[in-house]
Symmetry: C2
Subunit: 344 residues, 2 copies
Amino acid sequence: VLAAPAIAQSMPEVKWRCASSFPKSLDTIYGGGEFISKRVAALTDGKFQIRIFGAGEIVPAFGTVDAVQQGTVECTHTAGYYFVGKNKTFAFDTTVPFGMNQRQQNAWMYWGGGLKLQREFLRDYNIISFPAGNTGTQMGGWFKKPVKTVADLKGLKMRIAGLGGEVMSRLGAIPQQIAGGDIYPALEKGVIDAAEWVGPYDDEKLGFYKIAPYYYYPGWWEACSMYSMYVNIKEWEKLPKQYQEALASACAECNIDMMAEYDYKNPIALQSLIKNGVKLQSYSTDIMKAASTAAFEMYEEEAGKNPSFKKIYEPWKKFRNDQMLWNKVAEQTLMSFMLTNPVK
Amino acid sequence: VLAAPAIAQSMPEVKWRCASSFPKSLDTIYGGGEFISKRVAALTDGKFQIRIFGAGEIVPAFGTVDAVQQGTVECTHTAGYYFVGKNKTFAFDTTVPFGMNQRQQNAWMYWGGGLKLQREFLRDYNIISFPAGNTGTQMGGWFKKPVKTVADLKGLKMRIAGLGGEVMSRLGAIPQQIAGGDIYPALEKGVIDAAEWVGPYDDEKLGFYKIAPYYYYPGWWEACSMYSMYVNIKEWEKLPKQYQEALASACAECNIDMMAEYDYKNPIALQSLIKNGVKLQSYSTDIMKAASTAAFEMYEEEAGKNPSFKKIYEPWKKFRNDQMLWNKVAEQTLMSFMLTNPVK
């Protein structure tokens, strides 16, 4: 390999700070920020440096949108749905219960008009966004006792974030917002009866299986979970064009790489969890149907009173339903066959 | 947006030629090469230019590996499985019958060691490779008459490429290699009884539905179809480091973007085909089971006599089976529920 050409002098040095909403212990998702930083540096001969800070290091996990909006930091690697308290429209950037899977979400964002709509919404926060990572369909959480029917959810205290919590609440459960590191003690002490986090790889590290052995699937509130790089628009506009392109490419690359990382790591962790005696349980159709109904009732209500939500929800819903029609034909039929006809 | 910094003078101008294996009429896949070319230019301030040529313009579609190996062109945007005549090991770069879906293939290539193994194999051809596009699960082809059992395949002349053709042959059919533009007349004149191409979007343009109305799914020989950028290693090593990074990022970005494009376009085309009277048919379990058995028999035979095939096949098979275990839990359960419980 030849040495890099002598371009260092003429490309300006730019140093940014990125406040991640994720703790460093969540190496996969937090690692997405680090991945972007490395790729941007590689693409700009080391001249555009983005330093990533873990949640709470310089900005609290859920304060990063404010920080970017105000220009305290240039950008945040985050999940839009952490900010549904500001406006539920943020959720479409990440996922909503019974939303689209990872491929469908990418199709919506890159080709279906989703990213354009989301960016229009985010202009009010001085933000331009880039899809930047995904977990795929998550797991449905850890329970101390089995839950078979909607009635079993009544009064159940569950750590569950975002709109999934609101659907759980409509089904009678009591959703709790608890940061990752505090879930285990809360579950151990009986402050909560159940907790969802991500999937096998991340969940195993937190050790939930030791105290809540019923591991439910699927995480119907996260058919996928897409992360984003939110960048202050003024800072974005100050970047040389080439650095803008580098950041955009790095985010797209992160978007595909994180999904591959999870798909690599989750099967290994799942097998390890099963060896540790975890009891895999599927949510009953009773619960899934009630949850799906409650979710879409919630969206319709929100669309009736929140114009920015409605503006994305309506085309999103049509796009989702068209996606399902297509998925059912080729993808689903073949995968279903391969899953029921294992190869020895 | 500020003007680009004055770096033009110090970054060398590099001009490459890329021989695509795809005709320009296949705008999605051929377009992947154009996408990479545009992104590389954007990432290098226009200094690294890759000109894309359609199949046959300067190199025949299936001659591009030879051309890259000999250095006639610097690179080709192609499908590895076009070159199974040289060595069946090429197929793992793209897909094999009853292989992995798009996400699983990405996980295998980027994280599971697949790309490393494939590059070791390709060194003998003076090639370094980059995943660069995908179609997802393809459709199973157009038939003049329904095929219900393996017996119905006997003597059936079908246009089908690569290892899928070899499996079809083991089931009694007579596979034919016919270039895209020649399929329609062959089907019309009765030279062949059936033909597979890609999926709804690309198939609709070629008009097969007018003369072979039975549209089968799934394309069990292409659970996904991954395309690659094959680059002459000597030319690669001559590139400035920053240009190498730009090309790598552009290919990764193409890999995610093409899949999103297909997922956007296919549902629209499928609905249009259905309106045009196409008869959607699922392959029977009888045919699928026989095909799956024949496929893995073929792999075992090949592994027994081809060391380079064996070296990839064995870890690939283990990886595939672990992927299926995980997919079955979260992804499949939720998607299956959403497909059977449509939202109005």
